[in-house]
Symmetry: C2
Subunit: 336 residues, 2 copies
């Protein structure tokens, strides 16, 4: 009698069709929201679906439709080294949460350079409908090429022109941070920049330069870091070793600022009394530093969700601007 009870696998579209007394095609139409279906039929099918607990088989669906409903989030391994950086965690979170409200799936790829071929094949092998590339390095070229074969969106401006990306305006962010220092009366403003092989590193340096130029101040006190706390500490030591007094510092990341704070303290310099410091990133480094850092907030969770949004539109064939800039804002705390 109840042959259908205790079936092994999940119910199929075919079974739903039988239960609803319609054809498979019709069930498929209902499932995919086709406009040409009678209300009665929709009701019947929906009921059957609920009763049976039907869930479309993704594999079958993508085999037939040639779309996977999956996107990849690629994190080049050299970037993964910076995984500890809360920035990446936030972006990933943003992506995942945005996707949660769609029926797309997120496939996370840590792309080791030694197996880049494998990653490339995976991406081109029709496993995903599009890719998100999270990296600020100049070695993005391979991925830029990929964007000719499928929708690709970068997080952070890639070192290439014709690519879709969403980023904060790093130049403007750095400029506003530096301008804040100027407004507070600082006249000798140094910077601890990010690495020169990352667009964000370069852009923030440029913003610092612009602000100083506009204020008629010299822009010669510059040391490079790699965004991490230790590099910030080391850079500050080098700055101090120049024996060239300064009363303000723009650090390209809060992590570096927190490192710089250590070197400053060691040197017997007080913040903000002796030197004021402003940075970028409103993460817990900024929040928990001593003193808490005045910094430029770049909403990274939002960057992630925006990236996902842009990619999905691209996949959907919509017309999307190549560049999406996320606004930043200065948050004042006690370091200046």
């Amino acid at each position: 009698m109840t042959l259908d009870v205790e079936r092994a696998g999940a119910p199929t579209l075919e079974e739903v069709a039988r239960a609803a007394g319609v054809s498979r095609s019709t069930v498929s139409r209902v499932v995919n929201g086709s406009p040409n279906v009678t209300a009665d039929v929709i009701t019947a099918v929906t009921t059957a679906i609920d009763k049976l607990g039907y869930v479309p088989n993704r594999a079958a669906r993508s085999l037939a439709s040639r779309r996977t409903h999956a996107i990849a989030l690629v994190i080049p391994e050299n970037t993964a080294k910076f995984f500890a950086d809360p920035y990446f965690a936030s972006v990933i979170q943003g992506v995942a949460m945005h996707l949660a409200s769609t029926d797309y799936t997120l496939s996370l790829l840590i792309a080791s350079e030694t197996e880049s071929e494998k990653t490339r094949r995976y991406l081109q092998g029709g496993n995903v409908d599009g890719a998100l590339i999270l990296s600020h390095h100049s070695d993005d070229q391979a991925y830029v090429q990929l964007s000719r074969r499928m929708p690709v969106v970068f997080g952070g401006r890639p070192m290439s022109d014709d690519a879709y990306y969403v980023d904060v305006d790093n130049v403007a962010a750095a400029r506003s941070a530096t301008e804040y220092l100027v407004r507070r009366g600082k006249t000798r403003i140094a910077t601890i920049s990010g690495p020169h092989d990352m667009a964000s590193g370069l852009d923030r340096l440029e913003g610092w330069r612009q602000a100083l130029a506009a204020a008629g101040l010299p822009a010669d006190l510059h040391e490079e870091g790699d965004f991490t706390p230790p590099s910030g500490e080391a850079a500050m030591r080098r700055l101090l070793a120049r024996d060239e007094p300064f009363d303000g510092v723009f650090a390209a990341s809060a992590q570096m600022a927190s490192g710089a704070l250590i070197a400053l303290r060691e040197a017997g310099l007080r913040v903000p009394e002796d030197v004021g410091i402003v940075s970028i990133d409103n993460d817990y480094f900024a929040q928990n530093a001593l003193p808490p850092l005045t910094t430029v907030d770049q909403p990274s969770v939002r960057q992630g969700s925006t990236m996902a949004d842009v990619l999905l539109r691209l996949i959907d064939g919509q017309d999307v601007p190549r560049t999406t800039i996320i606004p930043t804002s200065l948050v004042e705390r006690a370091s200046v």
Copy 2:
């Protein structure tokens, strides 16, 4: 002549077969490493594969084989709030990197509670071969049930018995941290514990108790936090407000310890001179605190890769112990 050039889609198994002059079955066998194939044939097929740049179509493969070669990493949304916690980023990284050396794919799910039904269906809908659940909360029940339908491995001991999980020995970690305080001559040792609805919170509290009991010391100075810096700061304030002097503190997380440091400093207490503090987590909070924290290192990247390893074995039908404990180690710095 060259009909095959400029084809639209990716090459199929069928085309490889034709190019190699064998049947599709044989190509399939070669691709899947079947033992019963002649060396010559393998060579021929492999050559054809390389020449054509063939990549198996995942959808077709899983439709036919009923295996997806994908696993899910589920992060309950309440956990996602703690996303800023470097612990999670590390675990995710570990999982992703382990998977990179296999042909499994990682599907990252942020499971909002309001859509838990959706997540459940996704998991049960045959989209993945197994799932990793990252959570320390007691609301894991739903996922424990899931483990009856497919391989599931938890990160952190779930509040249930019959589940596979990989975790650090939180009791032992807390005990060794506390014992260290005892060895350093502290006689009045307080604790800032984690939340009581997380196994790790409870276990670390228990470890603290055990160490004190063994040393014949009272275990009454206890305040609860939620693993975040602010909660640690607040807990320390409450501890201080008790007006019950103490010379040692075991904080269940480095983040809370860093918060506690702030309250301690405000109260004019010096670390380590007046009170020694030990915590768990060797993250940058521990490394960059002032003073740097003596702490118990729990290798979270490794926990992630181990979780993936266990799950893959489970999927492979291997016999795996339900519990995998990752060793921890004490790293001495300047806070005691």
